[in-house]
């Protein structure tokens, strides 16, 4: 049992590193999605989904690095509050846009006008 714990302790920084880097990559992918996707709703999708997973992975990595301290408690709180507020904010934006009559772009890319003409609220 203690050997297993020791093993886990040796593995901890590596797991933390993998979590940190993959979290960073996911956040980066989400950000490029927000930049490149064609209309508001798809961008919302890119930001909302990847932010949650990326946040959790980065914070998990940091918690693993810090061990069981006050700092890891604070990091866990940051994660908890982000989990509460980030989807709520995304929901509020989506709801407001939908209520204002912002239409998603449907169909293939070729059949649509160029990017800047899209998404006129009616």
């Amino acid at each position: 049992m203690s050997e297993l714990l020791h093993m886990l302790d040796i593995l901890r920084p590596y797991v933390a590193g993998i979590a940190l880097l993959s979290g960073g990559v996911i956040v980066l992918i989400g950000a490029s999605g927000v930049l490149r996707l064609p209309d508001f709703y798809t961008r919302l999708h890119a930001a909302g989904v990847t932010d949650t997973l990326g946040t959790l992975l980065v914070l998990l990595g940091l918690i693993l690095l810090s061990g069981f301290t006050l700092l890891s408690g604070k990091l866990a709180l940051v994660g908890l509050f982000l989990l509460l507020t980030s989807p709520a904010a995304t929901h509020a934006v989506a709801n407001a846009a939908h209520k204002a009559g912002l239409k998603p772009r449907l169909g293939t890319v070729q059949s649509q006008p160029p990017l800047d003409a899209s998404g006129d609220p009616s």
Partner: protein, 354 residues
């Protein structure tokens, strides 16, 4: 100019440079945009980036304050003012543009010329860093026993200065009251017929009730936590970043969030304007009262050592704590006075113009 010190280029320089370039980009974007909504959002991001940069520059207390201001209060205030004025800025006239450009270039060139005599970035032996600031660092531990030097200097060594700043904040709150009015009591608010019609329209469109159930539930969870965190910032301010100014801003933000979600009337029931008015003056009274108690005990104004003659450092801790409570009460109250002042006005702008 200290010629020997060379600023090293390391990983932190890279981070500083990235933050600086972000700030410049945001600043130029603010110049170019005419949609005031976008301008307000960008000024929020500007404050966010500078807060992050302040952390990188070791100024954690300053970053804390900037974050507490930028995350909620200044955005809400600017939106409140926009609501009562306009949402588009008129385009800049070419003549103005050229005049402004000439003035800016001349001033900038003069300032750049002056930087040659300034100390190098990060020089530990430069005049500002090696003289009085260092003295505060050396004295704070033995004399006050407060680990956060910023809190100690703020409330003890420069206590007069902070007393003045607190009074300035109270005065600014009074100024807003004089310009915009007191905000009135919670229920018996006079409403114009247009506002009543608007409220009725909003009632019909099912905004009230369970419609924003997600926001309501999340806010109900967050508001108590924000207030508790404000209390933590207040009382942990001697040991980590924080203090009365930051805690006051955080608590005021929590109440502003409550007003945003549950309506201004509910907020005025929970935190009545009369209480807020009392608090703004009470905070300055607490601050000054600590000084007067010191005088009565035979010391100088704001000389906390006298509070505990056997252990002067304990007296310092006590004095700093009470003074910070005074700052908290004034800052939180004044921010709410300002918020209530802006919300008590009804916009007189037709839908077409806005």
């Amino acid at each position: 100019m200290n010629g020997e010190f060379l600023t090293p280029i390391d990983a932190f320089t890279v981070i500083d440079l990235i933050f600086m370039s972000m700030l410049v980009v945001v600043g130029i974007a603010i110049v170019r945009l005419k949609d005031l909504f976008a301008v307000v959002m960008l000024s929020g991001v500007y404050s966010l980036v500078s807060a992050a940069w302040f952390v990188s520059l070791d100024a954690v207390d300053v970053a804390f304050t900037e974050a507490a201001v930028g995350a909620g209060i200044s955005t809400v205030l600017m939106l409140g003012a926009m609501l009562l004025t306009a949402r588009q800025a008129a385009p800049t006239k070419p003549a103005r543009h050229w005049v402004a450009l000439i003035v800016v270039c001349a001033t900038g060139a003069a300032l750049l010329y002056a930087t040659v005599d300034m100390p190098s970035f990060g020089d530990p032996l430069s005049a500002p860093n090696a003289y009085i600031g260092l003295e505060y660092l050396k004295r704070t531990g033995p004399e006050t026993g407060v680990p956060n030097v910023v809190s100690a200097v703020l409330a003890s060594y420069r206590g007069y200065d902070t007393f003045g700043e607190t009074t300035v904040i109270l005065t600014a709150g009074l100024g807003v009251v004089l310009i915009l009015g007191l905000g009135g009591p919670a229920i018996k608010r006079k409403k114009t017929s247009a506002a009543k019609a608007k409220a009725a329209k909003i009632d019909q469109s099912k905004i009230l009730g369970a419609h924003h159930v997600v926001l309501r539930v999340v806010s109900k969870m967050m508001i108590p936590v924000i207030i508790i965190y404000g209390a933590y910032v207040q009382f942990h301010g001697d040991f980590g970043p924080g203090g009365g100014f930051q805690a006051g801003l955080i608590i005021a933000s929590a109440i502003i969030l409550y007003a945003l979600i549950f309506g201004i009337d509910a907020a005025k029931e929970a935190v009545p304007p009369s209480l807020v008015r009392l608090g703004a003056a009470l905070g300055v009274l607490i601050y000054g009262g600590v000084g007067v108690i010191n005088l009565l005990l035979g010391g100088n104004f704001l000389e906390y050592n006298i509070l505990n003659p056997t252990h002067p450092s304990h007296g310092q801790e006590l004095g700093i704590m009470f003074v910070e409570i005074g700052v908290l009460v004034t800052v939180a109250s004044v921010m709410l006075i300002i918020f209530y002042g802006f919300t008590s006005r009804q916009p007189d702008i037709s839908d077409k113009d806005w």
